[in-house]
Amino acid sequence: MSRTNLAHRLQHPTHFTYSSRTVVFALTARKMLRSGVLWGCIFGISVYSSAISYTSIYKTQAERAALAAAYGLNEATSALFGPAPGLQTVAGFTAFKVSMTLMIIGALWGLLSITRLLRGEEDSGRWELLLSGQTTRKVATAQVLGGLAVGVIALWALTAVITILTGLDSKVDIGATSALYFALAMVATAVMFVAVGALTSQLGGTRRQAASYAAIFLGLCYAVRMIADAGVGVHGLIWLSPLGWVEELRPLTDPNPLALLPIIGFTVVVASVAVSLAGRRDVADSTLPHRVKANGRFFLLSSSIGLAFRMVRPAVVGWWVAMAVSGLLYGLVAKSAGSTISGSSISNVLSKLGARGAGAEAVLGVCFLVMAMLVTFIGAGQLSAARGEEADGRLDNVLVSPKSRTSWLGERLTVAVSVLMVGAFEAGIFAWLGTASQNAGVGFAKLLESGVNLIPPTLVILGVGVLTFGIRPRMTSIVTYALLGWSLLVVIVGDIGAMSHWILDTSVFHQMALAPSVSPNWEANGVMVGVGIACAICGGVAFKLRDLQHE
C-alpha cells in the first residue's frame, strides 16, 4: 500500500471509528458482526429448509397426525433431540427438527468465539498490547463481551428475518412475533456460552484449556437434559441444565417466556464473575492453579510424526470420546426409534435422505450420516492444526532440520487419516455395542462396515484441504470448513427434494450411501478416495514449491 493510500485510509476510516476508550469493543464488534451474519444465514436457511420440506412431504392433516402419533411421544428421540410436542404443525415440526442442532451449534459458536477473543488474544500477546491503551483488564473484558453481543444480535436478526420471511408462506404460517421469539430461543445458548467461555478464559491457562472446560460444561448440560427428557420420571432435572432452560422456552409450540429468567440470570452472573476475575488476575496467568514446571516426558518426541501425535493428542482424545459416546447412544436408541417409525410416514423423511429399509437399520443410516459429519470435523481439525504449525512459525524449527516438506506433510496426513479412521471404526464398534445391548439385530460386521463407510467423504474434504494448503495456505481452514458446511447444508436442504442433482453431487455426504440401511457404495467410495488422494498429491507438490507463510 502506498503512503498516500495509507494516509487517506487513516484519515477516512471506512468501518468503525476507533475511539481510544472503545477500541477493544470496536475491534471485537467488527470481527463478530461478520461471523454473526454468516451463522445467522445458516440458522435461517436451516429453518427455511425444515419448514418447506415439511409442507412438501406432509401435505395432508392425516399424514401430519400420523407423524405426530409416531414420533411425538418417542422417548429415545426426545432424549436425543428434545421433546416433539407439535409435530402436526409446520411450526412445531420446524422447532423440533432444528432446535437442538442450532442450540448446540450456537453454544459452540459462543464458547469458541469468546475463548479465541479473550484467552486466544492473551496467548498471542496481543491482549497486552490492547491493555497498554486507555483501558483496564476489567473494562477490556467487558468490551469484548459487548463486541460479541453485536455478533449475537446479528445472529439473532438474520435468523429472525429469514424465519419471518419463511413464515410469510401461507403453508408455513409462522407469525412475526413467534419468529422473533424463536430466533431469541435459538441464540440463547450462544449468549449463555459466551458467558461460560468468558469465565473459563479466566480459569484456564491457555485458550485450549478454556475452550475444553467450556465444552465439558456443555457436554454435562446436554447429558443432564438428555436424562431429563428420557422419560424416566426425572423431568425436573431439566431446570439444572442451561440447555433445558432453552428447551423450556418452547418456541413455536407453547411459548414460556418465564424460562428466560434463569437464562438472563445465569448469563449476567457468570459474565459478571468473569469480568471481575479478569480484573483481579495477572495477564497471562490463570485463576486455577497450573503447572509451570514439569518432569520431562520424552515419549513421542523422537521424531516429527511423534511430535504431531503428541500435539494433537488432547483434541483427538476428545473427538474419540465423542465418537464413542455418539455411536453408543445411537446404537442404544436405534431399536426403539426404528420400531416407532416402521410403517409410518417418518420413513419418507429417512428415505429422502437416502436411508432405505425399515426399523433400526434405517435410523442408524441417518445416525451414521451425523457421525460422518463428526469424522469430517476430525479431519478438518487435523489440517487446521497442521496449518497452525506453519502460521505460528513452529514448522520452521522442523523444516530447518534434515526433514523434507513432503515427508513432514506425509506424516501429518498419516496422523490425520489414522485419527479419523480410529473415529470411524469407533462409530461402528460402539454403535454395535449399543444395538447389541438392545438386541436390535444389526450385526457387528455390518456396523463396522458402516463405520468404514464414513472415511471416504472425509478423505475428499481432507484432500481438498491439502490442495488449498499447498496453493493458498491462509485459506486452508476457510475452504475446508466451507466445503464441510456446504456439504452439510446441501444434505439438510436437499431433503426438500427440489434441488438439482448437480448441486446435490457437490456434497460429499450426498455421495455416501447411508449404511447400514443400505450397502456401502464401494464404487462411489473408491472415486471419493481417488479424488482425495489426487487432491492431496497436487497439494503436496504445491506445498513443496511454495514459500512457507507465517501469519
Partner: protein, 305 residues
Amino acid sequence: MGSMAIRTDSLTKRYGGVTALDGLDLEVERGEVVGYLGPNGAGKTTTIRLLLGLIQPTEGRAEIFGVDCHRQPVEVHRHLSYVSGESNLWPSLTGAETLYLLGRLHGEVDENYQQELIDRFDLDPSKKVRAYSRGNRQKIVLIGALMARPELLLLDEPTSGLDPLMERAFRLCIREARDRGQTIFLSSHIMSEVEALCDRVGIVRDGKLIEMGTLTQMRHLSALAVEATFDGVIPNLSNVPGVTVTEADGQVVRCQVQGSVEPLLRVLATAGVTRLVSREPSLEEMFLAHYGAGDPSGELDHVAH
C-alpha cells in the same frame, strides 16, 4: 563439498511488485564469522530464509557448502543450525522436552555441551515453554542450535530479548564456535555485537548488498571523525575539500573528513586550535552513514555527513 560455506549468485526475491532481495552476490568462506547488517525490511531475514530453502528464489541461486539450497534443502540442513529472532516453540512442552526434540530432529547432539550451555545460559529446563519469558525462550533456541555443533550457524537476530550477561555468554559461545572452525552468518542490529564478533561485515539496503568487507577496509573507505576546539575565531571549515561540518557547539567543531586530511590540517594550522581529536568511525557511524541518505528527516545525514 564446496569450499565456500555460503555462495549466492544474483539471488532475488520478489513478492508481487515488491523486491525484497535484489540480485544478491555473497560469498562466505568456511570458518568465517560474517555480520549482516541492515534496517528493518532491508532483506536480511529474506536472505536467511532463502538460504534455508524456506522460501523460493524468484531468480538466482544459493548454495551452502556447494549444495543448492533450493533443490536439496534436506542435504543443506544436515550441515547447519538456525536461530530465529522470533522463538516460536511448542508452548505445552518443557524446555528439556523442547531441547530433546530439537536434538532428535537435527540428529546430532553433544549432550555434555548441551548441559554446559544450559548452565552458561542459566536456563531452568523444567519449565513449560509458555511460562518462559521471551529471553528464556530465545535461550532454548540458541542452545538448540549450538548443541548440535553444526558446520554453519545461521543466526537471525539471535540475541533478541537476552540480557547483557546472556549476550556476553552468547559472544563467548560464538568465539568458541569460530575457534572450532564453524562458520557463522550473523544478522543483527546490535553493532557492538557485530563489531566484536565478525571478521567481515555486509550491509544490505533496499534488498541490495551495498557494502561488504572487513571492518578495517570499511573504515578506510569511511569518513574520519574529527573534533577541534578553538581558542579564538572559528575558521569556516565547510569550504575545505572533503570536510563536512556536523556540529558546532561554542568553540568546539565536529566534522567528518572524507579522503586526505591534509587540506583540513592546513586550515587548522593557521587557527588557534587548543585541542584536536580524531578517531576512526565506529561501525554504528559507518552504518548510519550508509543509511543517512534514506532518512527522510535528514537527521542521519546531519550526523553522518
